[in-house]
Amino acid sequence: MRSIPSLARLAATVLALGILSVLRPVVALAQDGLQPILQEYQAEIAKPSRSTVEKVLSGLMAADRPGTAEFLLRWQDRGVYARPTDGLFFYAEEIGDALRLIDIDSGAAVAEVSSREVSQIRPNSGVRAVIAAALVPFELNAPDPARREAALDAIARSGDASQIDPLSQSIETETDPALKQRKERLLTLLTAQFASALPYRLAAIEGLAGDTSIEARSVLNQLTARVPGVGTALPTGANIANVLEVGTDISEVEAYDRLVSANLAPPRQSATDRRDVLAQHIVDGAVGGVPLHLLNTDAARARAYEALEAAGTVPPRAAEDEVARAVAAHVFYEVYTEPNPEVTAAAEDALSATSHTLGLYQTLDLVLDGLSLASIFFLAAIGLAITFGVMGVINMAHGEFIMMGAYTGYVVQLFVPDYTVSLIIALPLAFVVTFGAGVAMERLVIRHLYTRPLETLLATFGISIALQQLAKNIFGTQARPLTAPDWLSGALTLNDIVSISNIRVAIFVLALIFLALLLFILKRTRLGLEVRAVTQNPGMAASMGIDPDRINMLTFGLGSGIAGIAGVAIGLYAQVTSEMGANYIVQSFMTVVVGGVGNVWGTLAGASLIGFLQKGIEWFNPSNTLAAQTYMILFIILFIQFRPKGIVALKGRAAGD
């Protein structure tokens, strides 16, 4: 057991020293102060590294000088400075640009210096974790709950056997119920991993069965970690996990490679090796009697090598069947790093109890991701579902409306620093801005091109590149920050596997709202009726007293306005750049086309198909997202070939052919 003074005693000593120091001259270093001990480890403290910090800690603990715990805390929090001229350490506080150095032992201000005269000691997070672990015994009973929680985090990050005792002792006195629960859980994990008494340990391991948390699985996986082994026979006394069957569990080539790396067999001779050997035995422009210029085939080289073999100048090569014989003569196995078979068996059981639920949760998480992606696609495409789907206008500048919405959000945040308020302003404002832009575009350009849909495509493309470049000219090429308010950051977490960020949930909800709103507008309002009438037969609608110009203008404005709101949402979860709209435009068109033109439900179906499809393909090949996108688009191309009208095809006159 290390001798560690209790925190109370430490505090008392610090206090006492503080009083004493008034009586003593500051510069004179008391032999029992902390500074002399620190100076023993000057280099290690000034340049902290994970490889040396243990040495420092054990030295400090052994010396047990007053103020040790406080020093460690400050060291961890980068509050310690070193003066290069004499190597002494100080605490410091900032006054403007300068620093006031404070003596570690006396607590008195020593000098004021600029930041270049001393160097701030910045332990990295690896070192900080070691210091925090060393501080655990002090901090577990700290009065401040936050500090106790930090100590528990330190245990969770780097647990070891020595923490079991202080942790179990601190549970009884713990007043905070949440922390108490956390302490108990950590105790179970530590016991499972390190306890010396086998029954306790097995019970703790059993208690982790079916636990899907990462902590629990991490402990169990550590307990069941295995290393490969090879030998002429199975080693006795080792905790063997399983024996590998050559041919089924492990290929012959792999098996031989293991033999080679274990120095149990000579390495195979590669073509390059053979060439090098031949090159060393060139005699009069020939090797083994084969002229050099003929050695450009494998057969000739083999002949030359055999000749050298026969002459005894080179060692004979391994025969073909030698590999097989060597492999057959050895046994390949995996051995647990944990020596006790009872522990590993219990851990394996506990793990296998988890696997079923784990699979279920992973699927659930995948579904959530798919849902989230689908709602993003839906949100990006829903404006298009109106302008393209209902009105039949190809608006290549749709992506730029999304971008305008996002930039509106950014500009609002420049003026309104409160993120919640700015969001509340930005959403309607984005609608207004893009509604206006949409109406202007419809009046000035699209109106003249209703009879020429292909040219609408080109004209709106012109607008698209102009708007993109304008955004670059105004906002610059650098991505702009659009930050979500605090209540939208963070994630909705069911457990360690299933979680989804709040912003994605918000996007999902927003998509649902839009869906309901659009359905309501189109199906239940006068405007919707008129929109449907105008898109189906403008002439007839006009003769019924509907003003098609006004309806077209409003519909286009509505679609554009919704794109603006979508822009704010997309900007919150990803980047705001002048090119962000272009990233969505092709996908959005595909969403609408796949779903079926002229129907909001179709767009929903299209977005769902694309979102889930992409996540599904990603799941098969998680290392290459680009491939998933490629195959998704290929699938869509094929899908449209076989179902040109999309998933939800309109029938009859509404189809408008």
Partner: protein, 426 residues
């Protein structure tokens, strides 16, 4: 605004008061080959401004060889074939003496054949994947052994990371870097199943699944670390998702090779405090010359502009070139090249950069932790590491070396003792 637009004008000329004419053709012309429009303008415009600032400073000091320096700026517009076209134009039509330019590897590879054909001289300022050493290019950015390998060592030794997620954008720099790191990690005893690799497209925004995959690695019972070669805008979505998932730097540290001060200005970094970046320069480096450099930059480009690693690379490259020209007494490419070998110039972060005969620099490797204000706390700084053109960790390139001074070859096979090729590998 007027100042900025003036500087952005395509031919920015700074003419100094009459200087004595030498044998040298006046003025000395410096070509700037950085994209001012298109996707890469985001990063490259800054470098164009840096070169213009350096030219202005040099002219204020009296120019070069008694001549004023004139900057010739062209815009290759992030369109890779245009880099070849504009490089040819700079060398043959504008007849520049040196080019400062390129950002992406593909743009460099596009310009390379032209530089080698016309015997031009280019300074390339960005960290890159190595596996190249052209006679006509000086690489002032980091080679993998000056950024990636030390960062991984830091992960292994200081943070105790045992399980690695290598996330990158799908292009050559992340691919090659990850290949090198994969080989390096395996040589350090990391098992293949403890290395998770993922590639995403440029501008990727849907990071939820990938972040979840990384978090799930923690169930293996080993400390997980992320090595990110994610490029440009895509980082914003990635870090936002990371913050939303509550991944703390103490649990899963992320070290990025392409995220600097410029990139962080596009997002709120409060949630990212403690995550890491590895570079050869950070604006927060506390030295006298860096303070002067930052001050000059802010005065030149604007108070809220930040400095970054590639800017330092141009700073060193430009000054070395000026010294080499002065030493050679001419801007002739062959003479300048010889004078460049062994050129020394102080780094902004302390220590000295030396131009090696393989056309790479010696550079210190810095590791910084992201602060809430978008700057970095430097927590580790190595001695200067000599840049290695051909990595030792890939079997094909291990026997290769580059030495233009003694071997006169950029791709020399030490096993067969032959020069594989005089032109470079494009």
């Amino acid at each position: 605004m007027t100042k900025r637009t003036f500087m952005a004008s395509l031919v920015a000329t700074t003419v100094l008061a009459t200087a004595p004419a030498l044998a040298q053709d006046c003025p000395v012309k410096v070509g700037v080959l950085h994209s001012l429009s298109g996707t890469m303008a985001i990063s490259e415009t800054t470098l164009k401004d840096t070169v213009l600032m350096l030219v202005e400073q040099q002219n204020a000091k009296g120019g070069l060889l008694g001549c004023p320096i004139e900057a010739v700026v062209v815009d290759p517009a992030s369109d890779w074939p245009l880099f070849a076209e504009k490089a040819r134009e700079l060398l043959t039509v504008n007849e520049v003496d040196v080019i400062f330019g390129s950002w992406t590897s593909v743009s460099r590879k596009s310009a390379l054949p032209v530089l080698e054909e016309l015997n031009g001289l280019m300074f390339y300022p960005v960290q890159y994947e190595g596996e190249e050493s052209s006679r006509n290019v000086f690489y002032t950015g980091a080679a993998p052994n000056q950024q990636a390998i030390p960062a991984v060592d830091y992960f292994l030794e200081e943070l105790g990371v045992e399980s690695f997620a290598l996330l990158g954008t799908d292009y050559v720099y992340p691919r090659t870097t990850n290949n090198i790191l994969d080989a390096y990690l395996k040589s350090k005893g990391v098992a293949a199943e403890d290395i998770f690799v993922n590639y995403t497209p440029f501008g990727h925004s849907d990071w939820a699944t990938i972040v979840a995959d990384v978090v799930a690695l923690g169930a293996g019972g080993k400390k997980v670390g992320v090595i990110s070669t994610i490029n440009g805008d895509a980082n914003i979505g990635f870090y936002k998702e990371l913050a939303a998932a509550g991944v703390s730097a103490d649990d899963i540290p992320v070290v990025a090779f392409s995220v600097g001060e410029e990139e962080l200005s596009g997002l709120d970094t409060t949630e990212l405090v403690g995550h890491l970046a590895a570079w050869n320069y950070f604006q927060s480096a506390d030295t006298e010359i860096n303070a002067a450099f930052v001050k000059a930059w802010k005065a030149y480009a604007g108070e809220n502009r930040v400095t970054n690693d590639p800017m330092e690379a141009h700073y060193i490259g430009f000054n070395m070139w000026v010294n080499a020209v002065t030493q050679a007494g001419t801007t002739d490419v062959d003479a300048v090249r010889e004078a460049m070998w062994g050129q020394k110039f102080p780094n902004l972060t302390g220590g000295t950069a030396v131009m090696l005969p393989n056309h790479h620099l010696t550079k210190p490797v810095l590791i910084g932790e992201i602060r809430a204000d978008g700057q970095f706390d430097i927590i580790s700084q190595t001695e200067e590491v000599p840049g290695d053109a051909w990595t030792d960790y890939l079997p094909e390139s291990a026997p290769l070396t580059s030495d233009w001074k003694d071997l006169g070859c950029g791709m020399y096979n030490t096993e067969t003792k032959t020069c594989v090729q005089m032109t470079s590998n494009y």
